[in-house]
Structure formats: structure tokens, C-alpha cells
């Protein structure tokens, strides 16, 4: 039998327009806790989906205990004994713990097809006790904490005799004590001979648990090391060590007076004590890993969510924003992350979409004026070079990049000082990206203060004058253009506040 319980060789997976995995390797030993690391979009999620049978690889081979297997369907993975536990537990909150554990493989009496509740409850109890949980299997799933729900998910995996358990950012939503509990259970699984693939953005998780670490970057396999062989610095280099080849059309902008300042913003459960300042003509990058709370901060500033703490100053004056309309009237615009769901009314024409936020401006006392609307929409569409046959085309017929330009045009209908861009190039092809960078750069040179939220490191580094890095709802670094390297950003996104950064943050707050 092979040394490895699971081995993947040369796995490639292409989605329309994107190569999600490019000849990736992976080797997992029996009873090993194997950390899988990489930036956002490095290919980890696709990789897991291949192992669990959600996606089929285009190329490559999978070996399970030395034998070549095809995993074409989640059922196949389950039969092999592969189970996955996700960050956001996918459970049935209104059913009992027992029902959740045995969902899909209930114990049924052979003759009468009756559900064997007693037996299932007993078995669930045994599993939970083994895992050190102290809640009753008859408890309703929804009444449990996230940590407890994860234990149920692990129990479910064990009840199907899982040999490989994949944990996707299991500690992201847990407190320190709960994480400790999860570590203990994970070690217990290892000692039973279960292999664990552990995905986490926390270095402390990895050092505490894993014996081996594999790094992906830009859909490629970078390397695999025993944990004591590689330092944290080397790991960071492995994760980001790409060269920035793309040129960003960043114009040298005249940075003017302060236009937006936020001080100690907080929203329970999302972010805490977030402070930064933004000047006219400045592009301030806001980055961090997915789930660091960047979008939440922006949406709170824009009035979509309520703030629990902190102050917002616009042009030196403290403001209170209750809803997006107020934010736009005061001069703050927001380009949402999901343009199809949050940015556009897809069946509508380009014209109607562009004028929606400022429809009152193009009307006479509430009466629509098609002519005025169309003229304004045409001017803006031309300014942003939206490629379409006419402004009466439905936006659903446009490419991603052109749709995004329409969302930009919507922003420009209002009289703004601050523009918040949340992942402005997400899902846009390379060519359209540079067009969007050009728009952003132009806007900055026109004197708008721009807050650029992005997960793409080259984009943040290439476009920003300064960069604010967030981690788990807190600001961990404020970097100048000169000191903003990929390594420094990734370190601040993944590691707790270092003394050096603490000073900088204090400084930044003083300004």
C-alpha cells in the first residue's frame, strides 16, 4: 500500500476564462494534519471541491490509498471516506443534533423501514462523548454555538467512517478557547488515524497543529514543507512571491486636504476600533483577507448598516448617516462588491440604471423626463466608454467590464467627494481591468478621495497611495506606498499586530 492515503497529481481545472488550478500536486499521509495555505484566490477552494467531488478535474489523477480513483460526485467522495467541514457550518438548524449527524445515512429498520431513533440517539451520544462534547444529541442544532455545531459536523464525518476530514477555515468564527477545543479534537482525530487537511489563514493554527504545509499561489503548487523546516517569513514569501508585472496606470495625483476621517468605528461581531483618514486625490487601499471586515466597514460608512461605535468626519464635520441616500447627498458614494446583485437592475436599460440613484435630479418635481435622463446617461456612458450599441440596451447584455462601467457611471450622477470602491475589478477580464484602473486613476486626479477595497494584492499595491490592512475586524497596519510590499501586507493580514505596526497605527490616528 502506498505511503499516502490521498495523492493528487497534476490536477488542472479551468472555468470559463479562468484557470483555477494548474497542475497541482498534493500528498496526504495517514494520521497527518496537513495545512494548506495560500492567498485569496490561490485555488484552495477549487482544490477542495475537486477532492470532495463537487468539481471534476480537467486533467490529472487522484490516488486513494495507492489506487487510482475518479471522484465524480460528492457521493463518491463520501464512499471513499472524505468529509469536509466548512467555515460556515451547513446544517439544518431546525433539526436535532442526531438528525444532523445521520442526515443522508439514517439507520432504518430493514423490514418496516422505520427510523431507528433510539439507536441513532445512542450512537450520536457515543460520538459526542468521544469528542468531549457535553450537549444532548436531542438538542436542536440551531440552539448550539458555532463551535458546537462544528463538533456535530465532525461527529457526522466520523459516523460515516471518514478517513480524511477537510477543515476549511474552521477557527475563523471561534473564540480563543473554542479554538483550543477544536485543536484538541483535531489532534484526537489524528491519533485515531484520520488524516486532516486544514485550511486556515491563521499562522497560529498551523504551527499549533500541522506537521506538513503545502502552499498554493495563483492556482499553482508552490511547495510542501515539514512544518519545522520553514520559517514564517519564508512561508509568506512562498505565498506572495510573484513578480508584479502588470503596469498600473496610476497618475501622480495632487493630494489635498482631508476629506474623510473615521475614528474608532465599531460594529459588534464585525469590526472594532477602525480608524483612518482619506484625502482629496488620494487612493487609500483597504485590504486584508476575505472576512477581515473590509466591506462591512465600507457599508457602515455608506449607511447600509448601523455603527455601534466611532465617529465619521466629512470635510472636518462630524456626520451621521442613517441610509445610503443621505450618504450620497452628503457626498459619499459606494460601488458594491457584487455588481449583479447589489449594483444593477439587470433587465433594465443602461440609461435607466445609470440614472437610478439620482433620478430625482433628472426629473421635474417628481415627473420623469426621459429626454434629460437619456442625455445624462449618454454623457456618462461616453465619458466612461461603455461599449454598447445604445444606452437602451439591457445591462444584462453587457460584458462584466462594461457592466462595471455602468455602475461607475451611476456613482458619477451624484455630487461626491468620497468614492468607496469595493472590489471594483472582481469578475472582470484583464483588458477591462486596466480600463477600470484608468477610470479610478482619473477620478483621483479629479480630486475625489478614493477608498479602494481589494483582495488583489498587485492591484492594491499598484493603485494605492497608502494602504490600510485589516485582520479579523481590526486595522493591523497602515503602510505608505514605499513600504507596501506584498510580504508586509500579507504579514499584517495574517499575523497579530506587531509592535512596529502598532506605532504606525497610533501615528495614523494622530494625523
Amino acid at each position: 500500500m502506498s505511503e499516502y492515503v490521498l495523492e493528487l497529481r497534476g490536477i488542472t481545472k479551468t472555468f470559463p476564462g479562468v484557470r483555477a488550478l494548474d497542475h497541482v500536486h498534493f500528498q496526504l499521509k495517514k494520521g497527518q494534519i496537513h495545512a494548506l495555505m495560500g492567498e485569496n484566490g490561490a485555488g484552495k477552494s477549487t482544490f477542495i471541491k475537486i477532492i470532495t467531488g463537487v468539481h471534476r478535474p480537467d486533467e490529472g489523477e487522484i490516488y486513494f490509498q495507492g489506487e487510482r480513483v475518479d471522484i465524480n460526485h460528492p457521493k463518491d467522495a463520501q464512499q471513499l471516506g472524505i468529509a469536509a467541514i466548512y467555515q460556515h457550518v451547513t446544517c439544518f438548524p431546525d433539526l436535532s443534533v442526531t438528525e444532523n449527524i445521520f442526515m443522508g445515512h439514517e439507520k432504518i429498520d430493514k423490514g418496516t423501514k422505520r427510523l431507528l431513533w433510539k439507536q441513532m440517539h445512542q450512537e450520536a451520544q457515543v460520538l459526542l462523548t468521544e469528542l468531549g462534547a457535553d450537549f444532548d444529541p436531542k438538542t436542536q442544532m440551531g440552539a448550539l454555538s458555532v463551535a458546537q455545531q462544528q463538533i456535530v459536523e465532525i461527529a457526522k464525518a466520523l459516523s460515516t467512517n471518514a478517513k480524511i476530514i477537510i477543515m476549511d477555515e474552521p477557527t475563523a468564527a471561534l473564540t480563543k478557547r473554542e479554538s483550543e477545543e477544536l485543536y484538541r479534537i483535531t489532534e484526537q482525530l489524528r491519533d485515531r488515524g484520520v488524516s486532516v487537511i486544514f485550511i486556515s489563514h491563521r499562522f497560529e493554527d498551523m504551527y499549533r497543529l500541522a506537521s506538513q504545509v503545502t502552499v498554493f499561489r495563483d492556482s499553482r503548487y508552490i511547495g510542501s514543507w515539514a512544518i519545522n523546516e520553514i520559517s514564517q517569513e519564508d512561508l509568506i514569501v512562498a505565498m506572495v512571491g510573484r513578480e508584479i508585472t502588470q503596469l498600473f496606470p496610476k497618475k501622480a495625483a495632487q493630494i489635498g486636504e482631508e476629506v474623510l476621517r473615521v475614528d474608532g468605528l465599531g460594529r459588534t461581531g464585525y469590526f472594532k476600533n477602525v480608524s483612518f483618514t482619506l484625502h482629496r486625490g488620494e487612493i487609500l487601499g483597504l485590504t486584508g483577507l476575505v472576512g477581515a471586515g473590509r466591506s462591512e466597514v465600507c457599508q457602515a460608512i455608506f449607511g447600509l448598516d448601523a455603527l455601534d461605535a466611532g465617529k465619521v468626519f466629512l470635510k472636518g464635520k462630524e456626520i451621521h448617516i442613517d441610509n445610503p441616500l443621505q450618504a450620497m447627498e452628503l457626498g459619499i458614494g459606494y460601488l458594491p462588491e457584487d455588481r449583479q446583485k447589489q449594483g444593477l437592475v439587470l433587465p433594465w436599460s443602461i440609461s435607466s440604471n445609470i440614472t437610478l440613484p439620482a433620478i430625482g435630479k433628472y426629473a421635474k418635481k417628481g415627473w420623469l423626463s426621459r429626454h434629460k435622463e437619456d442625455e445624462a446617461a449618454k454623457t456618462l456612458a461616453q465619458k466612461l466608454q461603455v461599449k454598447a450599441r445604445s444606452i437602451y440596451d439591457p445591462v444584462s447584455s453587457l460584458s462584466g467590464g462594461n457592466q462595471q462601467k455602468v455602475v461607475f457611471a451611476k456613482l458619477l450622477t451624484a455630487q461626491l467627494d468620497v468614492i468607496i470602491l469595493d472590489e471594483p475589478t472582481k469578475g472582470v477580464d484583464v483588458g477591462a481591468k486596466s480600463a477600470i484602473y484608468e477610470i479610478i486613476s482619473d477620478l483621483a486626479s479629479q480630486g475625489y478621495g478614493i477608498l479602494l477595497v481589494s483582495s488583489e494584492m498587485p492591484e492594491v499595491i499598484g493603485m494605492s497611495d497608502r494602504i490600510v490592512v485589516m485582520r479579523e475586524g481590526r486595522v493591523t497596519a497602515v503602510l505608505d506606498r514605499e513600504e507596501a510590499t506584498q510580504e508586509a501586507i500579507l504579514e499584517a493580514s495574517m499575523v497579530s499586530i506587531s509592535p512596529r505596526n502598532r506605532e504606525q497605527i497610533a501615528e495614523a490616528r494622530m494625523i
Binding site: 437592475v345 415627473w367 454598447a388 450599441r389 445604445s390 444606452i391
Partner: protein, 340 residues
């Protein structure tokens, strides 16, 4: 490139014009008229037609705001109870000696308040659907009406109040004039104002609307309040026509009203449909009912016919899209000029 140029597909074509659901409705309407007048010589009698119109138009006032509500992708099934409650309050106040003019104003206020409460509950408790909220208030409003009057009827209104339900202006029933005026007002509100545009935006994509600064909650409350107000208008015409009111008036109106709206081509998924469709549907169902009554077809058969029409209304737009798939495909296949 002239971005203001309309393409051929976007421009006027007679085929596209007549393929609209509203023309289907008119076609059905003409068909109904033809069959009815063939079956009964009394159908096309002016007096008969006029009387029939006066009977079915009372609930039509609620159809107008219901169009807005359904375009918002919401629903209000409490409207019939609102009719009953506002009618009962008015009658009760008048019986207690309050002047009729004041009682009428209070009737309208009560209706608007009922609608406001619906709207407020719906935006305040977003986890509850509009069906559930208005189901609850439907029971509550009707319950209050029963508490106030128990099983009695109240009547003997002043003579001039009869004008609403029975009066004529230049030989045209007043109720018809009132309805046409209201319908035009609502059509303008929906199609020609920023308010209407925002209603369509919310019905199509509430999230994007919120992100675009549309005051979603405020608009919903206003629309539901309008529905309550128009239910009170219905209460006025209904009470005037009947001469008295009871707590069980207008029972089942909500379903009639919703049926007319859906038949009018307004999608329950929200964001689609026009006021004119619902207005045609009001007359279609009204004259269908009148015609079938003339030839002594039982009311149950009428229900079956309305049910079938509804199924047709829901299905035909889908068939149309499938049927004209080759036409729809064209814009996407055509080379779109891109910079890259």
C-alpha cells in the same frame, strides 16, 4: 457611435406592439362581448351595461394600488377587511351623530391607517412575508369590525350620500368617472414619476435599489398606505350603493382584486406589468360576470372560467418567451463592439 440610437428591435414594430399581453386581454374582451351578445339579446343594452358597470366597479379602486404592491413583489390580502372596517367605522360614527362629511373623512383616515400599519409591519419585521403580515391584519381588521357592529346592519345615510353609488354626471355613472380619474392618476404615478420608477426598481432588485439610495422602506409604507386609502374609497362607494353596511361586507374582494391584477399581466415576481393591463382586466372580468349572469350560468361556472383565465395569464408570457426565443437570441449574437 450614437448611444442614443434605438435599434430596430427596440423601435416600434406593429408585431411587437400587438404581441403585448394587453392586446391579448382586449382580444379576450372582444371575444367575451361577442359571445355574450350572441347568447343574450339583452347584453348590449345600454341600461344593462351601465348598471353592471356600476356594480362591479367598487372593488376596482383597490386594483389600482394593488398593481403597485404586486410590482413591489409584495401582496396585501387584508384589503377586503380594511373595506369592512372603514365602512363600519363610518356608519357607526354617523349613527352616533357625527356629521356625514366628517364620518367620510374618518373613514378614509381609518383605511389609510390600516394600510400604514401593514406597511410598517412589513418593513419593520423583514423576516415576515407580506402574506403573513396581511393575513394577520386581515383577521384583526375584520375582527374589530365585528366587535363594533356585531351582526347588525347600519344604514339610513343622508340622501346626498347615495350619489356616490347611484349618481350620474351627463348620463355617465359617477363611479365610472371616479374610477377613470383614479386610474389615470395611478397610471401617471406608476409610469411617469420618479416614485413609479423606484417602485419598478425595488420590484426588480431590492438590494441594488437600496444600494442606489432608493428609500425602499419608505416607498413600501407609502404604497401600502395608498392601498388602505383606496380600500376606504371602495368602502364609500359600496356603502352608498348598498345603503347600509355590515361587518361582513366585501368578503372575498381581496382575491378578486389580486386575480384582476394578475390577469392584467402584472407578475407576482415583481418588477413587471402595466397599469393599463389591470384596468382592462377589471372590465373583462366585470362584463364576463355580467354576461354569464344574463344567460343564467351559475356563479360557480364563472369561478372556473376566471380560474382558467388566470392560469392562461400566468402561462402565456412564458410560452411567448419560448416561442420567440429566436428573436430574443438576436441581440446577444450580434457582435457587440468592445474596446478590447
Amino acid at each position: 457611435m450614437d448611444l442614443l440610437r434605438r435599434d430596430n428591435e427596440k423601435g416600434f414594430s406593429w408585431k411587437g406592439f400587438f404581441l403585448q399581453w394587453e392586446w391579448m386581454l382586449i382580444l379576450i374582451f372582444l371575444l367575451v362581448t361577442a359571445i355574450n351578445s350572441y347568447l343574450s339579446p339583452y347584453y348590449l343594452n345600454y341600461d344593462n351595461l351601465r348598471d353592471a358597470t356600476m356594480t362591479f366597479l367598487d372593488k376596482a379602486f383597490i386594483v389600482l394600488p394593488m398593481v403597485l404592491i404586486i410590482i413591489l413583489a409584495d401582496i396585501d390580502i387584508s384589503v377586503a377587511s380594511t373595506v369592512a372596517l372603514s365602512a363600519v367605522v363610518m356608519a357607526d360614527l354617523y349613527a352616533m351623530g357625527v356629521p356625514m362629511e366628517v364620518a367620510i373623512l374618518i373613514c378614509l383616515a381609518v383605511g389609510a391607517l390600516c394600510g400604514f400599519i401593514n406597511g410598517w409591519l412589513i418593513v419593520r419585521f423583514k423576516e415576515l412575508s407580506a402574506v403573513i403580515v396581511t393575513l394577520a391584519t386581515m383577521i384583526i381588521y375584520r375582527g374589530i369590525a365585528y366587535m363594533m357592529l356585531e351582526d347588525q346592519a347600519v344604514g339610513q345615510f343622508p340622501e346626498w350620500f347615495k350619489f356616490l353609488g347611484w349618481g350620474y354626471v351627463f348620463g355617465i355613472p359617477f363611479i365610472l368617472i371616479a374610477f377613470v380619474v383614479c386610474a389615470i392618476a395611478f397610471a401617471l404615478l406608476l409610469h411617469k414619476t420618479t416614485f413609479g420608477r423606484r417602485i419598478y426598481a425595488i420590484g426588480n432588485n431590492p438590494t441594488a435599489s437600496r444600494f442606489s439610495g432608493v428609500q425602499v422602506d419608505r416607498i413600501k409604507i407609502i404604497v401600502f398606505t395608498l392601498a388602505g386609502l383606496m380600500a376606504a374609497v371602495t368602502a364609500l362607494f359600496l356603502t352608498s350603493r348598498m345603503g347600509s353596511t355590515r361587518p361582513n361586507v366585501a368578503t372575498g374582494y381581496e382575491l378578486d382584486v389580486i386575480a384582476m391584477v394578475v390577469l392584467g399581466g402584472i407578475s407576482t415576481a415583481g418588477g413587471k406589468g402595466r397599469m393599463i393591463g389591470a384596468v382592462i382586466a377589471v372590465f373583462l372580468i366585470g362584463y364576463l360576470r355580467y354576461g354569464l349572469g344574463l344567460i343564467n350560468i351559475p356563479a360557480q361556472a364563472l369561478l372556473i372560467i376566471i380560474g382558467l383565465l388566470l392560469i392562461g395569464a400566468v402561462m402565456v408570457p412564458k410560452l411567448k418567451i419560448r416561442g420567440s426565443g429566436w428573436r430574443k437570441a438576436k441581440p446577444a449574437d450580434a457582435p457587440v463592439k468592445r474596446a478590447l
